[in-house]
């Protein structure tokens, strides 16, 4: 039995490598040629990339949330033991819940494309032609999934215990947090699987060519990027304001009521409240023990239900070739209805269109256009967060404006220009065969750049 398991594990190495490659290729979008070139030069390149990405993302999962602690030392003061169990419970409940959410966000951020590629099922197309039974194929699928993000999952399991150990030096708490980290990791994995499935359906599907589907594609991209970056921002803000937030609860005369309510919320409070019970078990009011246990059980139940659903969607990945079946009545294609139209436009406009459509189609290019805006916003926000210490409102406002202007006029254009130039390199396979004047290209880039840049300035004038 054990031998079998290790056999599956070692075979899954090849499949997970293929999945990773698939994800990298999809991410590279139109820059695949470059990626291939690197593989050609060094055949260990893929293997090394897998390892590096794994290690880096695991470190990120553990370390990134810790950075908030260093940048916001007041959180440490908050967590200093206080005599009142109600106050400790609510402080721990809120602070550690934020961490749990941030772990999940990072896992999703780092694993989304790999899992998306896995859920697209492309890597199983060939396996389906080999004599492998459905049952075995399913085992391969699980092993592949696990191998694709094993290190990340493990670091997710140890991240919270490490954090708790650093903050509280309480061994019992640490052990408990390790125990709840396991179902938490499973839950995160399931969420990742669902998101990966959604992504793969939107990004990797070939069947639907309607306008609507390409619009949803762009929308989903925008959503993923803004959520992943927005999440960070939100977390940062929460940490800056956490003192006030927590004191709202601790100073309120109804702290115990808040505790009861929060502990009933299965995620993320349920498991956290459950472990805070172990700070001093004898002191906790029985009602809180009851509600936290209920909250924790609810959390386990949710994990179980979601886990079952995730299993189902993994099984669908290895099924027969994906086919769309619809209830709408279908008809045969009538040749008369196809009208071939080619719209006339200037080279410049054609070029802008090309840039925008590539941006919509492959994530990397979309990032090139969206990232400058996002990063500028983040820079502005993080620079101006220090302003809260300045008492004069006018000076605050003025400095904020100054910072914004400097950022917008420097970072944004630099990133946009390099992004657009990068995109040019990517499309070189298509455009190098076309007789295009460099001037037309440059004109198009300039217009696009000014458009994005303008948009951004307008945004800030409001």
């Amino acid at each position: 039995m054990k031998n079998k398991l290790t056999e599956y594990y070692s075979m899954a190495k090849f499949i997970s490598r293929e999945v990773f490659y698939e994800a990298q290729m999809k991410q590279a979008g139109s820059r695949q040629a470059k990626f291939l070139e690197k593989c050609e030069k060094n055949k260990k390149y893929i293997g090394r990339m897998v390892l590096i990405l794994k290690i880096v993302s695991s470190f990120m999962i553990i370390l990134l949330p810790l950075i908030y602690l260093i940048s916001v030392p007041s959180v440490l003061d908050l967590l200093k033991p206080s005599g009142n169990i109600e106050i400790t419970a609510i402080t721990y409940g809120i602070v550690f819940s934020i961490f749990i959410i941030s772990y999940m966000t990072y896992l999703i951020l780092f694993g989304l494309y790999t899992i998306g590629a896995f859920m697209s099922g492309d890597s199983f197309n060939w396996l389906r032609t080999l004599p492998i039974s459905k049952k075995k194929l399913r085992k391969y699928a699980f092993m592949t999934l696990f191998r694709s993000i094993d290190l990340q999952l493990i670091s997710l399991c140890v991240a919270l215990p490490i954090l708790i150990m650093i903050l509280t030096q309480n061994v019992v708490l640490m052990l408990m947090s390790f125990l709840i980290s396991i179902p938490n990791a499973i839950l995160c994995l399931c969420v990742l699987i669902f998101l990966g499935e959604k992504i793969s359906r939107v990004i990797f599907s070939k069947e639907n060519t309607s306008k609507k589907s390409s619009r949803t594609k762009i929308l989903v991209f925008g959503l993923i990027i803004s959520v992943s970056i927005g999440m960070n921002l939100i977390l940062q803000f929460i940490f800056y304001g956490i003192e006030g937030f927590v004191s709202f609860f601790t100073l309120s005369p109804d702290t115990h009521v808040w505790n009861l309510i929060l502990s009933l919320i299965p995620y993320p409070f349920g498991p956290i409240y459950f472990i805070t019970l172990f700070i001093s078990p004898t002191n906790v009011p029985p009602l809180l023990i009851l509600t936290s246990t209920i909250g924790f059980l609810l959390f386990l139940g949710i994990t179980y239900v979601i886990g079952k659903k995730a299993l189902k969607s993994i099984k669908s990945v290895i099924g027969t070739e994906k086919e769309r079946k619809s209830r709408k009545s279908s008809q045969e294609l009538k040749l008369e209805e196809i009208n071939i139209k080619i719209k006339e436009s200037t080279t410049t406009i054609a070029y802008i269109k090309k840039d925008l459509t590539t941006a919509a189609r492959d994530p990397q290019s979309a990032m090139l256009l969206i990232m400058p805006i996002m990063i500028t916003i983040i820079m502005i926000l993080s620079f101006s967060s220090g302003l809260t210490e300045v008492s004069d409102l006018n000076i605050q406002l003025l400095s904020f404006l100054m910072i914004s202007l400097v950022m917008i006029s420097t970072i944004n254009p630099i990133m946009l220009v390099s992004g657009l130039m990068n995109m040019e390199e990517s499309g070189s396979t298509i455009t190098s065969a076309l007789p295009i004047l460099p001037r037309d290209q440059a004109k198009a880039k300039l217009i696009l750049m000014i458009l994005i840049h303008k948009q951004f300035l307008l945004l800030f004038q409001r």
């Binding site: 490659y21 060939w126 080999l130 492998i132 027969t320």
Partner: protein, 270 residues
């Protein structure tokens, strides 16, 4: 006494697609019947989009048919696809093998999946790699190989387990002259040893030289089947080349002339 390897009866397969927000149905395979015997090379010919690849995928149980009967080695591919796949060497239209691996890893992977004898497989892989001039790519990542070399690796990976039936979907695409010759020899040897071959191709000359029987598909229907002589009779073109027979049977012979005329006219107007 001939032994039936593949039996197909009244096979139907429809696809649905959304085009311009309309649900469009394609009858990719529309009532096809044919047999492939033991010790026979059977060619599937047909214009682009005729339904050759779809038929082949149905044989392997990769797609579910809408209607009809399929037996491969007397087994139903929908239910006993594993047993069938054990005895089949399949080369897909587009390289399906793991492209992130090197041929070395790939052959290792296949031999563990198919539980082959390592020593015998090693010898075979070496022979085939040498005969197809691909031994120098043994440790390069497959995706970085040229199209033809990828195809060679895919072909080798489909024959190292000594299958009884070879199903090749356009195996010659991208191969150079020498490799085509070698591949033809491999197919012939396979046939002499009692195996069967089903392959689709667009190259009429190869089909003429290699195939014992040919099935011509057009728009999901069989429009001609049999030996070349029989096909000539069916198309009323005694002594004609397979190309002419093919164009006649797929009703493209007249349209080709018209298209050429039209093209010439529009080109001269330019």
């Amino acid at each position: 006494m001939t032994e039936l390897i593949i039996e197909v009866q009244n096979l139907k397969k429809y696809f649905e697609q959304i085009i311009n927000d309309q649900n469009i149905q394609t009858k990719a395979v529309n009532n096809i019947s044919f047999n492939v015997n033991k010790g026979e090379i059977f060619g599937l010919l047909g214009p682009n989009g005729a339904g050759k690849t779809t038929t082949i995928k149905l044989l392997l149980g990769l797609l579910e048919p809408n209607d009809g009967n399929i037996r491969v080695f007397g087994l139903n591919p929908e239910r006993e696809d594993i047993k069938i796949k054990e005895e089949i060497g399949y080369v897909a239209e587009e390289p399906l093998i793991f492209r992130s691996l090197t041929p070395k890893d790939l052959f290792n992977f296949i031999s563990s999946i198919r539980k082959l004898d390592p020593l015998k497989t090693e010898k075979k892989v070496k022979e085939y790699l040498e005969s197809l001039d691909a031994i120098q790519y043994y440790e390069q990542i497959i995706d970085t190989l040229s199209h033809g070399n990828k195809q060679k690796i895919q072909i080798i990976s489909a024959i190292i387990h000594n299958p009884k039936l070879l199903i090749f979907d356009e195996p010659l695409a991208g191969l150079d002259a020498k490799s085509v010759k070698v591949l033809k020899e491999i197919l012939d040897l396979h046939k002499e040893n009692g195996g069967a071959v089903l392959f689709s191709t667009h190259i009429m000359k190869i089909a003429e030289e290699l195939c014992d029987r040919i099935g011509i598909i057009n728009k999901g229907k069989i429009v001609g089947i049999g030996t070349i002589e029989e096909l000539r009779k069916q198309s009323n073109k005694i002594g004609a080349s397979l190309e002419d027979v093919f164009l006649r049977l797929t009703e493209q012979d007249k349209s080709v002339m018209e298209i050429i005329k039209k093209l010439r006219a529009s080109f001269n107007n330019k």
